[in-house]
Symmetry: C2
Subunit: 156 residues, 2 copies
Amino acid sequence: MSRTPAPHPAPETPDLKGSDPTHVDLLERLARAAAGYYRDLAAAAAVQGLTMTQAKMLILLRQPLPMRALAGLLACDASNITGLVDRLEAHGLVSRHLDPADRRIKNVVATEKGLEAVRVIRADMRATSAAFNRLDDEGRRSLYELLGRLHPDETV
Amino acid sequence: MSRTPAPHPAPETPDLKGSDPTHVDLLERLARAAAGYYRDLAAAAAVQGLTMTQAKMLILLRQPLPMRALAGLLACDASNITGLVDRLEAHGLVSRHLDPADRRIKNVVATEKGLEAVRVIRADMRATSAAFNRLDDEGRRSLYELLGRLHPDETV
DNA sequence: CTAGATGCTTGATGAACTCAAGCAACGAGG
DNA sequence: CCTCGTTGCTTGAGTTCATCAAGCATCTAG
């Protein structure tokens, strides 16, 4: 995605031996985890000729979703989704299907090619995979459980 | 940041009673956490008249950083940083300082106004704050510790 | 002191994003 | 029925984000 062979000056994060982490402490580490995830995602998506935004959308499309819902999930204006889906459709990765129950709605569906792209991208996210491997089984279980509690299904 | 008053169709995540989470399971929940964080950040940044990208950069500027380092951390081309810093500088949130030791380098420094903007944005991230409050003290400690192990300082 | 790296900027181009406006289709209340 | 307000998507204009190719200045080795 970019030529960034540069050395990393590391923004540190406090160690907190003893006291409980504040919300700001947590925000900083969550920011770091999120940035790391997206950095890796962007790189893996670029290999497939996709931008990070396109990859984010494809990943959401485990089930068909109305464009409006995509706008909600991606936290952007609905008009933005039109162009996004246009481009993904041009690549043959998604298609639009009129909703029989409500003809205003267009459901976006990932094609087989789209689903495959997601699989390839995920398999290619080596930095994140390496990060997971830095934890032991117990750590991975805890992380999975904690992230689940952070964002229960209702919250999306 | 946008008008998205829509109901959320929830992409679920498996429950896994018993077996260990696979990397794909973890990727899905991490994706969700990252998306939630950025959704909240974008909204809070918009209140301050900043885009999410500008907010991301400001948050990195706890210490002065050379533009090249910013490119590395934001995983984008160095030429992109020029415009980004231009716009933040126009808002009075950062300034460029020539590095005395190496006159090619321009260190970007957050102004007091910039630091304040970060504080306000963080205080405004209610959804994320609510998510943290969904955990108990022990959960927050574990999450903090696990995220720290996921991305140790070297990894940025 | 030259030769090659490295750090930043510029210019051109395309993607992502917002807002305002518009059309089509739904869903009430007369 | 049939307006009327709302909702879902698209279009068009304009900004920001992001890339690449090129260029200039400065540092660093040899």
